[in-house]
Symmetry: C2
Subunit: 553 residues, 2 copies
Amino acid sequence: MSPHPIEFRTAPELYRHWSIDIDAPVAILSMDVDETASLVPGYELKLNSYDLGVDIELYDAIQRLRFEHPEVRTVVIASGNDKVFCSGANIRMLGLSAHGHKVNFCKFTNETRNAIEDASEFSGQRYLCAINGTAAGGGYELAAAADYLVLVDDGNAAVSLPEVPLLAVLPGTGGLTRLVDKRKVRRDLADVFCTLEEGIRGQRAVDWRLVDETVARTAFDTRIHERALQMAESSDRPVDSSGVSLTPIKRDMTDDSISYPYVKARLDRTGRVATIVLEGPADNPPSDITGIEDAGVDFWPLALARSLDDLLLHLRFNETELGTLVFKTEGDTDAVIAYDQLLRDNQDHWLVREILLYWKRTLKRVDYTSRSTFAMIEPGSCFAGLLAEILFSVDRSYMLEGQFEDDERLPAAIQLTDSNFGLLPMGNGLTRLETRFLGEPDTLANAKSLISTPLDAAGALEAGLVTFAPDDIDWEDEIRLLLEERASFSPDSLTGMEANLRFAGPETMETRIFGRLTAWQNWIFQRPNAVGESGALKSYGTGKRPAYDRKRV
Amino acid sequence: MSPHPIEFRTAPELYRHWSIDIDAPVAILSMDVDETASLVPGYELKLNSYDLGVDIELYDAIQRLRFEHPEVRTVVIASGNDKVFCSGANIRMLGLSAHGHKVNFCKFTNETRNAIEDASEFSGQRYLCAINGTAAGGGYELAAAADYLVLVDDGNAAVSLPEVPLLAVLPGTGGLTRLVDKRKVRRDLADVFCTLEEGIRGQRAVDWRLVDETVARTAFDTRIHERALQMAESSDRPVDSSGVSLTPIKRDMTDDSISYPYVKARLDRTGRVATIVLEGPADNPPSDITGIEDAGVDFWPLALARSLDDLLLHLRFNETELGTLVFKTEGDTDAVIAYDQLLRDNQDHWLVREILLYWKRTLKRVDYTSRSTFAMIEPGSCFAGLLAEILFSVDRSYMLEGQFEDDERLPAAIQLTDSNFGLLPMGNGLTRLETRFLGEPDTLANAKSLISTPLDAAGALEAGLVTFAPDDIDWEDEIRLLLEERASFSPDSLTGMEANLRFAGPETMETRIFGRLTAWQNWIFQRPNAVGESGALKSYGTGKRPAYDRKRV
């Protein structure tokens, strides 16, 4: 683990950079970056620029608005700085950061922007961006995650993506993709926009589809408020429910273990493997929605998602050498299925909807994790419904055929439910089973017919639901060889291979961002023209002009 | 220019590595690599491994089969080596090559595999792959470009993609994408396959969808012949037409100019710009298909496509510092439109179909070119129909409003025809105008209503068909600033930006290969784990084990 692990758990009373101001149905989420409060020493967060620490607060705020504030129907992203909306990722921070941190930073900011879009599309919480001053680079990319962008028209405030001309890198948080795919900006105009340091302001920004509206400064606040109320009208969020308070996630760590409610991890640094055990519920589910509301943050599916989410982020940033994640489950399959059924029965309730959407995002975080992922299905496991979805997210799964010697527990069984057939789509818009069986519609139909049937290793293998099913005699050797072999490969080639094998089928804005844009950015983040001693990221602000190798690749 | 420019023009009598053997309706395209005939010194092409020189011959052979042999309906890709089908790209060559060459090499091999798939899908020339021995890495990727893969079952011959375990890079020619997207191999099985050095053979290769059939060695040749004839049955290629002989392309080069029939290029090395002038036809079109056949290789649309194709490849490999391509046209718009009309009127004839498909592929080569591309529309130009398509491929277009001072020529006009609305789709499956106007269906409909109307600068700008329309007073300064500014940016960030802005809308296997897979491969080709002194590409064959940085990014 790194000596100063990055902490993802926070709460509004700890925020240094954001504030939440609620006047239902509208919340103002305001960015006023404390320039002295950088995540690590070495740079100042001037002009509302951000680093990972700023974005961790944003992610927390978005989660809280969803869970704690059912009454909020429109979120206004605003700036606490008079002149600058946001000037994007801090350049000095980028210049100082290691390659891996830059890449992970971009992935996290992308996932957070996607969570904004997810709230808007699925949970009735629309986002309005009040661009009160310059929105540059990541500042414009943050704005572009909102549904509706209002730019102040004061002859000065502009939106811009100056990364290419200024820094020799790409806008790292989905900007290019959102331009041409989400906002459908004409590609030649997008080309002009992305090479114009000073950006575009006023009516031209509207004409080019870069923002939705431009408003004089004197009318700005009124118009934002009016538009926010208007956007709130179409929401189906409840008016008289109370939210679930997201109390601090409990976590115990030792050098080789991490323990959360319902999630335990063992870290094998020599073998470079993290084994993650997801635990089934401790008791039977509540009988109705009131019971779910009463359980709140301790409701098993919510507690487990929060634990897993934090663990994935922790491993991603703080345990970069643990290249393989092995998922296991432990618990009572019937109890898992009872919870799974309860969620589906109440999926239209705002809170259950949020919990399912959180599962959806967390499973996607597994999909997008640049580690090799395996699942091991052993006696005592409870891969059913929601938890079975893990089996179809990982790169491979191994199921023990029969029992272990000297182990009384019955052979493992997995069980599909309706939850595996539409509730939790991947980033490509398909279910994981649809993606898995892209070439075999009959196998998909057969899987559907197996809902509620406990499947032993032979049955699961036959149905194409697991990769291999060794028996007790082979199990230990096979798993050991698998993990040793995986640890012996180049991490980079595994990351590239997995990114290309995991997402067959249709593409969406999201798969494009994580598949195409990320890869190009990773490449550029390695190139001397950006990160070399004379590259643009190092030269920026020094008065020296960057020196480029002019060869086109 | 590099001191030893790579030559793309070849012909069967010059081939060192391939032979074509025709017994209509079947052609055997056989690979028997001359290990001493590498493109550059420093490595031997053992075990039917290939370098760019081998692939240049393959590309030429595919073109000739399409144009010179209308009677060929099935092409069998075979090996002249008894034990090895093909062992992929030569590893020593990869280890010795500069980053840019590796990337360009992969792009060209990808385009050539796509041309195979294009022939199969659109011109009635199906491809069958006779895998008579080991097909490793690029060898299996070549096979996967075919429609139908037959693997010999001799207890030994296997298909494999050993790049990740052996070389710490990705299969560079679309292998991963073709596995999960084209052949729809289940992703966990694909994961196993891609990490298995020795690959998979026999029935398991069929069960996993890696090949379509496996046949004992004794029955192999008979089965291949039988299946080739079977595949020929569904073809609509003519039985009694004669082909068009692809005589050598004429080219004259000086240090700062290149001249072809209908295509001229001026190279400005100081400004790092190549200006490409496409010339309209020298005379009126023939009146019917017989006239087209008689004109053969001199038929304007075919001659121009061949010239442009060769120029694009030459610039890509031999002029890597010319980062900007400026396209212009010169000629008589009416004559262009007459040819354009003739092609559409005869688009079902096999030869015209081939010419249009060749235009489609050549325009896609412009789309995929990792240079900034602009079009300049000036008096005397003839951007109409087929040639107007260039305007929608480039990153930006500039049209002179009015006339130049002291120039009698009339103001430029552009003209759309039906050819711009479906005949020449991009890799994403949409027309360039559909992609351009993704967010504005009304503008697309309006463009369609403008077919046959000559549009001056104001009209073209109003219709969204050009980016800017400066007048004579501004033109020179604006163009100069544009070219200087572009030349001042980091080539890498431009490549990444353009790759992300050019292909909005749906994705296809092709856009995935050039967008996603290529970018990941570019990244990996930069990483010390692959190309560093202790990286796998450098260590391969030395007996030393590669040393990897274990951090996952």
